[in-house]
């Protein structure tokens, strides 16, 4: 169950690099995710030659593509947020395009992108609740099974809610940890340490 959620998260992190065209992004964002899910699972097999996808595969495909569209916008915004002077400066230093991107632009863009991806991933965790409609056995599906087995709706759903809160907290904490190790944040901390050596010592013992 958790693996499905994580799989969707990971796939969407890679998706945006592929989906760069505006048309594709707008198409993916234009209609509700549920529609795409139902279309892929129920309508597509009706076309001759089209395969009946397993429900888990259909779910991961739809979630990663639609959230990948949002992710690509985040990447775009992050890259645009890097000051153009940085690019000019690396051109003036005679850096090649590859070095320019990997050593100058990308590290700075990441400081913007990673927090946004954190909230996107929390969104994806929440979004996974819809996959039980096509029979994927996620935590929502499990709660519904528990509900019909015990007849105690309140308890099953309260546990389910707790499960989602814990999942989202884990994902959020994971991204906060990544953020901590970003190059820009490391540089900021180092600069801070050089400027206020005493205060940093106090902070680090805290």
């Amino acid at each position: 169950m958790v693996a499905i959620g994580l799989g969707a998260v990971r796939a969407s992190s890679r998706g945006p690099a592929v989906l760069s065209s505006i048309v594709v992004i707008e198409l993916l964002r234009g209609a509700p995710v549920v529609i795409y899910l139902f279309w892929l699972f129920f309508a597509l097999p009706a076309i001759p030659g089209a395969p009946q996808l397993p429900s888990a595969l259909a779910a991961v495909l739809v979630l990663s593509f639609s959230q990948g569209a949002y992710g690509s916008e985040i990447i775009r915004a992050g890259l645009q947020a890097v000051h153009s002077g940085q690019r000019d400066a690396s051109l003036a230093l005679g850096l090649g395009p590859a070095v320019r991107f990997t050593r100058v632009v990308l590290p700075q863009a990441l400081s913007q992108v990673v927090p946004a991806f954190g909230s996107l991933s929390v969104d994806i965790v929440k979004m996974t609740s819809i996959v039980s409609f096509i029979g994927v056995q996620d935590i929502f599906y499990a709660a519904n099974t528990a509900r019909s087995a015990t007849g105690d709706t309140m308890a099953s759903y309260l546990v389910l809610m707790l499960g989602y809160v814990v999942l989202c907290l884990i994902v959020a904490a994971f991204f906060r940890a990544i953020e901590y190790f970003l190059p820009v944040r490391r540089a900021q901390r180092a600069a801070h340490e050089r400027r206020f050596p005493l205060r940093t010592k106090v902070m680090s013992t805290r």
Partner: protein, 219 residues
């Protein structure tokens, strides 16, 4: 099985009925979300800073839970403790409240963006607290937050598809019902997707135009 135009035409009236419900639901939800969000944000600003978390905590909680889970909780869970609501009002209340939590954050950011001098000026003019809030601070915040808020309305329009899960006759529900009648899902689902896509375009264009006009008005 291939695409059948006459069947597609046959399903169209049902789907268009779904469009109407979707629009009604969106407008009602947006009303709740925009007003409740504003009320919460104003309340948050009026509360002393130590007590603010009483408001923040439930709002954060609502934002962490999937809309679908809250919907099911309301629809199947609440009757167990004696609260039974029909699907449509329940769906509107749930979605409206969830997006009120998101709008709260937008408004809160808007309040942060107002310079302190504005408040000082109102104070210096001898305006009462109520006048300061209702005539100066709130209108400024609403105007500053408008683009983000309208974007949420657009998201709300798409999210209303989730209400099919509790049987509110939105576009997706209509597609499902028709498909079930004839055991053909290709046409209704495809048409439903196309309807969402096509109806999204004018809304998005309107939003972008509004945003542009507003930005010019500020300069």
């Amino acid at each position: 099985m291939t695409w059948d135009w006459s069947y597609a035409l046959q399903t169209l009236p049902a789907l268009l009925g779904g469009v109407l419900t979707t629009l009604v639901v969106t407008v009602l939800c947006a009303g709740i979300a925009l007003l409740l969000g504003l009320a919460l944000a104003v309340l948050f600003k009026l509360l002393p800073s130590g007590v603010g978390f009483v408001l923040r905590l439930p709002i954060e909680l609502i934002k962490t839970l999937p809309a679908l889970v809250i919907l099911f909780f309301g629809f199947y869970g609440l009757p167990q403790v004696g609260i039974t609501l029909p699907a449509l009002p329940l769906g509107v209340i749930v979605l409206g409240t969830i997006y009120a939590a998101y709008c709260f954050e937008v408004y809160r950011g808007g309040f942060e963006s107002i310079p302190q001098g504005m408040r000082d000026a109102a104070h210096a003019l001898g305006l009462s607290r109520f006048t300061t809030w209702s005539r100066i601070l709130v209108p400024m915040v609403v105007r500053a937050s408008m683009p983000a808020l309208l974007n949420y309305v657009l998201v709300l329009y798409r999210q209303s598809a989730l209400l099919f899960a509790i049987g509110v006759p939105v576009i997706l529900t209509a597609a499902q019902v028709v498909g079930y009648q004839y055991f053909r899902y290709l046409e209704p689902y495809t048409l439903a997707g196309v309807i969402y896509l096509v109806s999204n375009i004018p809304l998005a264009i309107f939003l972008r135009r509004y945003e542009k006009r507003n930005r010019n008005a500020h300069v």
